[in-house]
Symmetry: C2
Subunit: 242 residues, 2 copies
DNA sequence: CGTGGGGTTGACTGAATTCAAGTAGTGTGG
DNA sequence: CCACACTACTTGAATTCAGTCAACCCCACG
């Protein structure tokens, strides 16, 4: 049965900002159901005008876009708590596709209700904007990575970033977290070839900085990795949840 | 003297969505003044928590961030109508710096009033989110460019994109628009070296696809350029103005 | 009239891509 | 039970696109 917002397991994690009772109720009214998709299933298509918006509850996925020449850019990895479909929600068209990498559970919201949602719940509207700003911030970082970091720094950056997010989501135990993506996904996220990504991962493994195999990422010393990645601030600020 | 929102020259351009009288009044109340800065002046600093937000009225500028190793990533070019400081407004910290490339005139808004602004003007709140979504869309495109396009395609993409924006802003006449940046700025935006950017510009010039010298960009056939850049849609959708 | 910023060009170097081959694990069907 | 196909990952060698180094030009400016 669909999870009630009041009982939402994500909401209580300290990474997410607390919500007032009114806000929880507003989310509950905005939520029209729950969707479970299998690994590999498409969720939103680039250029589409989806009638639905989502928040990831369980599982992981990918945002990506294809170019005319067949190359794929992975925009980012989707983890629980991520809001999906903002662009369709306000602009009416997605700039990228979204697909599930593992089996996923998603809260479903009705796109056509978003205007009333904004009107009736200014705190929640502010939270939507806040999430958009966080995404913008992240994309700026990603751009700087692909544009200015070399392969070793890039891979270190990406692994450190997911690991830090994983820590906030309580997915890390004994320096390990699940990371069910393929090397090709990471390569497409960083604008590197699969071969070079593989060799770079091997280098990080040899230097005992990060190990990623069989869908499990293991990082012994996150600060050392962050130093190589030129990440200045390893704290993850709290964020709103939709 | 400060421009009244009612007389805002940008508002009437067809690229910007129309605003109701109430919305114009709300903007006027939100606006605390106007700021004129000289070419080269910093407007916002990466990591800062600015008390002010801006909309560019005249002039052009740059968003950029520096990495620890001294490399600079230009995040995008700022043209009239662009909103500046969203991240500081909602998250309390800018992810990039902003500086004026030419002399600029900026509408100034009070960051601390943003919450009431959201509460009292849901249409305007929606517009802020819309702008954030547009920016997110753009950054996704930029990421795909730096990650997946080669140098020729990248430079073509960047020039075509500004040109299309320039057209919407009535800055183009006889296939020409002002583009007062340095080649280094473009290079830093695309993750290319200055030398290679220069040679790539020469290639586009030789092929009569785009000419950019003395701060003036000239494009004879935008569709041909867009084809090289793998830009699928050369229309620029209307957007809100703050 | 020197100085410095921006732009241009050629020669050399190198990081990352492409090509190629091979391993390991998994699932399928004869 | 084994041959086959398929996917993900791995590794070495050859190639190339883009970076670095180094000059040089032009021009605005003090």
């Amino acid at each position: 049965m669909a999870t009630k917002c009041k009982q939402c397991p994500l909401r209580l994690q300290h990474q997410f900002l607390p919500m007032s009772q009114d806000e929880v109720n507003a989310m509950q009214r905005f939520k029209v159901g729950e969707l479970v998709v299998d690994a590999g299933a498409p969720i939103l298509m680039q250029g589409s005008n989806s009638p639905q918006l989502f928040t990831a509850l369980h599982g992981m996925g990918l945002r990506y876009k294809y170019l005319e020449n067949g190359k794929r850019q992975v925009v980012n990895f989707i983890l629980p708590g991520d809001f999906i479909g903002l662009q369709a929600g306000v602009m009416g068209e997605m700039g990228h596709s979204v697909e599930a990498t593992t089996k996923m559970t998603l809260c479903v919201f009705d796109r056509s209700a978003i205007w009333n949602f904004f009107k009736d719940n200014p705190e929640r509207a502010f939270s939507v904007t806040w999430l958009a700003a966080i995404e913008e911030h992240f994309l700026g970082d990603a751009l700087a990575t692909v544009g200015q970091r070399d392969a070793l720094q890039s891979v270190a950056w990406a692994l450190a970033k997911v690991y830090l997010r994983g820590q906030q989501l309580n997915m890390v135990s004994k320096s390990q977290m699940p990371l069910p993506f393929r090397q090709q996904d990471l390569a497409d996220a960083l604008g590197l070839s699969l071969v070079h990504t593989n060799k770079t991962l091997a280098k990080l493994r040899d230097r005992q900085l990060a190990q990623w195999s069989d869908g499990v990422l293991s990082i012994a010393d996150i600060d050392k990795l962050a130093a190589i990645a030129m990440i200045e601030d390893t704290t993850v600020p709290p964020r709103p949840l939709l």
